[in-house]
């Protein structure tokens, strides 16, 4: 098994350093522990405040609701590790969902799935080409794509949701296997595939290398443009997959769906401790970031906090988390 991410330097914190508590010592040595710990603490607090939180039904519900965001965020992690980011994923979720739904309404489920994934891949590859070959900054390139693709979704549907999907497809959003909702299973599969891709394949190493130092990677013989295009392509295809799952859950293709997914998924990656400058990040930590966001909004729901307040709180937590992360890095 190969791991590319460098282990922290031998941080023994022996004599000379001022005494610290056991906890802060542990965190200094294993800084990634902070995300799972935050998730545990939040869940414990939620369980104390609400009897409904720690029920099988509610936990299943949290995972089910987190599925779409998690799929988008896995793709976002790949792009962010490669040194870019992608603002177009929210729009891709909706366009892929709508096109997929339209094909399915005309009778072909497999065709719909392929169309949804294909649209996502296409937009992603185009983003990658614009960023790497035309040298446009990721912010501008994907901002343009975000507006363009959203417009395309509205044009394609005429602004009207696409309904009457075949039942064989919508069960994906409603049914489960052994009590585990299908969207959660799909997410788990995608997570496993991309965890392996990033940690154990040459492409994974190249993605880390290009994000860490593009020029050094080029001079080491890495086809950097191809790697960038691949990273954006992966992100787009996963946004397409998320769009299909969302369509199944909503039982319709919604041209306005997926809004804010681009920002929430970037937030999840950042909560997972990745750096927006590229070269670091892990899918497993991103998934924890997604769960933090989902547990937070779920427990606020249980506590009957108004949804407007939820936004304020989620936003605040993202800022605090990023600031804590910065502080930890520089300290």
């Amino acid at each position: 098994m190969v791991q590319f991410n460098a282990a922290p330097a031998a941080a023994t914190l022996a004599g000379g350093e001022r005494r610290r508590s056991r906890w802060s010592l542990l965190l200094a040595r294993y800084p990634w522990l902070i995300t799972p710990l935050a998730l545990l603490v939040m869940s414990a607090v939620a369980a104390l405040l609400s009897d409904h939180f720690l029920t099988v039904r509610n936990v299943t519900n949290i995972l089910n609701q987190a599925a779409v965001l998690a799929i988008v965020s896995v793709g976002m992690t790949v792009v962010i590790i490669s040194g870019g980011f992608d603002l177009s994923v929210g729009s891709v979720v909706s366009l892929a969902g709508c096109v997929g739904a339209a094909v399915m309404v005309r009778g072909s489920i497999a065709g719909g799935v392929l169309a949804g994934l294909g649209i996502g891949l296409l937009v992603g590859v185009m983003n990658g080409v614009v960023v790497s070959l035309l040298n446009v900054s990721p912010f501008i390139a994907t901002l343009g794509a975000m507006v363009l693709v959203r417009g395309a979704a509205l044009l394609f549907t005429g602004g009207v949701p696409i309904v009457n999907l075949p039942e064989t497809f919508t069960v994906v959003g409603t049914e489960g296997v052994f009590g585990i909702p299908i969207p959660v299973l799909i997410t788990a599969l995608i997570f496993a595939v991309f965890w392996v891709l990033l940690q154990f394949t040459p492409l994974g190493l190249k993605i880390y290398a290009v994000g860490g130092n593009r020029e050094a990677s080029r001079l080491s013989g890495v086809a950097v443009n191809r790697v960038t295009i691949a990273a954006y392509g992966i992100c787009g295809a996963l946004a397409g997959a998320a769009g299909l799952v969302l369509t199944a859950r909503l039982r319709s293709g919604q041209p306005t769906a997926g809004e804010f997914y681009e920002l929430t998924s970037i937030a999840a990656v950042v909560l997972g401790g990745a750096s927006l400058t590229g070269g670091e990040g892990k899918v497993q930590r991103t998934v924890l970031g997604v769960l933090i966001i989902q547990v937070l909004s779920n427990s606020l729901n249980l506590l009957n906090v108004h949804s407007y307040w939820q936004r304020v709180l989620v936003g605040g937590i993202i800022i605090v988390a990023a600031a804590v992360d910065r502080f930890r890095r520089t300290a």
Binding site: V2, N5, A7, A10, T12, G16, G212, L219, S220
Partner: protein
């Protein structure tokens, strides 16, 4: 320059002339001692050099002095008064001008704006609104540059300047205050010989005005040229602190590395007759001059010239990293030029860039990942990285190149400069390159690691490889090359065989003053 402040300093009865006294400074990082009880003094008008290997504690000592780091033990006295700077701003206000190794300039701003950034001259518009006084800023900068003997347009944007010119701007910026102590961390690393001379003239002038200078350098000859006293640091401790005239160069080198280094440039001759690489009418886009030269098996072909002479650019062109518009390259009997680094690597050409941190390594990846990056095909099985193949590649490389890292998974950013450079070289050995293009391979590396890099070069030529060596350090280029090409303005102005080498003639050709 220092008057007016001296009156406030100088403790009554204290040793007159002592500007700075650091006593028993200790500092550790994660339990590793970087400095152990270091004493350091600086007298008025003195140039005190600090030398030592990378990681010996030079930069840490400077960072403690100017408040970037806080020492665990020890005291600092500035003109008899105990001080404890908590930020670089404090140190600056107390008259410490620090010129760091890394440049801290805003490339989009002009020379004058950068020089005055810390204290922008303002005037009042309509008696109240403070606005930038551009005229005073330009005039002040012009005057400052003149006293430094630097010819630069204060209006020019910094991004348009050469690295050496930027270094001069950095120095001007540091001196744009009443400096009592001037700290220079490897100030000559990117300077040409005549610019170094100008810098030394400036240091001497400051010295005459009573300014004390702390001069950190790897270049022993420079230390002897400018310093009065030298402190040798080794493993965070003072190995010696003596007047320069009481310390012979060989002795200093022995103190730095802690052992004898008999000859700085140990060269083994392996040059054969077979041509390994031939460039015919090779034309770089930047210079548009056709170049023809060849390198034989086992040979070190030196390329030298002043900054901007094009010799580094030639190496990049061969490696497919700089645009080439015409010409042919014959490597191992195969024709055609490499259009990308990947294509060059496939033909057995490897390139070690000048700036290993920016271009040579992915700093936050591990030693292991950096080593396998150009060799991914060899460590992959069925589209996955094979742990066993990786280990089989990495472990012997780390041993053979004596890469000192706690583990193969340690990030290269935690390694010393010399070890980082060994990682860059090692990855190309693993790639089984037959042509090694080295651009300033020992830039900013300490004496011990330098010797190791030269040993690695000998190994490579001994095994039949060819090296193209671009080095602005002439003694190194002379010591290690079998033949030498001298570049000026993108053309080859002279070719020398090893028995014809002479420093004077090569410098004359490089400077365009050969008769």
């Amino acid at each position: 320059m220092t008057q007016g402040r001296d009156a406030a300093g100088g403790a009554p009865g204290g040793q007159a002339g002592t500007l700075l006294a650091m006593r028993g400074i200790s500092k550790s990082f994660y339990g590793v001692r970087a400095l152990r009880g270091v004493d350091f003094d600086l007298a008025t008008g003195e140039v005190h050099a600090i030398v030592g290997e990378n990681g010996a504690g030079k930069s840490t000592l400077i960072k403690v002095l100017c408040g970037v780091l806080t020492a665990e033990h020890g005291s600092i006295e500035l003109q008899g008064r105990r001080v404890q700077f908590t930020s670089p701003g404090d140190a600056y206000a107390a008259g410490l001008a620090v010129i760091h190794q890394e440049r801290h300039l805003v490339p989009q701003l002009s020379v004058a704006e950068n020089v005055c950034l810390r204290r922008l001259p303002a005037r009042r518009l309509l008696g109240c609104l403070p606005v930038l006084n551009r005229r005073r800023m330009l005039a002040g900068t012009e005057q400052l540059l003149e006293t430094l003997g630097v010819r630069l347009d204060p209006r020019a944007p910094v991004s348009a300047l050469s690295p050496a010119e930027q270094q001069l701007v950095e120095i001007a910026k540091a001196l744009n205050q009443e400096a009592r102590i001037l700290v220079m961390d490897e100030p000559t690393a990117s300077l040409e010989a005549h610019e170094v001379e100008a810098l030394f003239a400036l240091i001497r002038r400051m010295k005459g005005q009573g300014t004390g200078t702390i001069f950190i350098s790897h270049k022993i000859d420079e230390v002897y040229a400018i310093a009065d006293r030298v402190t040798v640091l080794r493993d965070g401790e003072v190995a010696a602190a003596r007047a320069c005239r009481d310390l012979a160069p060989q002795e200093m080198i022995r103190l730095i590395v802690g052992r004898d280094v008999r000859d700085l440039y140990v060269k083994e001759e392996h040059a054969g007759a077979e041509v390994a690489l031939a460039a015919q009418g090779y034309t770089l886009q930047r210079f548009r001059t056709p170049l023809s030269f060849e390198a034989r098996r086992g040979e070190v072909l030196g390329l030298t010239g002043l900054l901007g002479s094009g010799c580094a650019e030639v190496l990049r062109g061969l490696f497919g990293a700089a645009p080439v518009v015409a010409g042919e390259l014959v490597v191992g009997g195969r024709r055609g030029r490499a259009r990308s680094p990947a294509a060059a690597i496939a033909r057995g050409i490897a390139f070690v860039p000048e700036n290993r941190q920016v271009e040579g390594l992915v700093m936050n990846l591990s030693v292991e990942a950096n080593l396998i990056l150009p060799n991914l095909r060899r460590v992959s099985r069925w589209g996955f990285l094979s742990r066993r193949a990786v280990r089989r590649l990495v472990t012997p490389l780390m041993q053979r190149f004596d890469i000192r890292a706690p583990r193969s998974r340690t990030a290269v950013k935690h390694l010393s400069g010399g070890n980082q450079q060994k990682v860059v070289l090692a990855k190309w050995f693993a790639a089984q390159a037959s042509i090694l293009a080295l651009d300033e391979p020992t830039h900013g590396i300490d004496v011990g690691a330098k010797a190791e890099i030269h040993r690695i070069m000998n190994q490579f030529t001994g095994a039949g490889g060819s090296i193209l060596l671009s080095s602005s350090e002439l003694p190194e280029a002379l010591g290690m090359s079998d033949r030498m090409l001298v570049f000026r303005g993108g053309r080859i102005t002279a070719r020398f065989e090893r028995h014809e080498f002479s420093q004077e003639r090569i410098v004359a050709h490089a400077a365009g003053m050969a008769s």
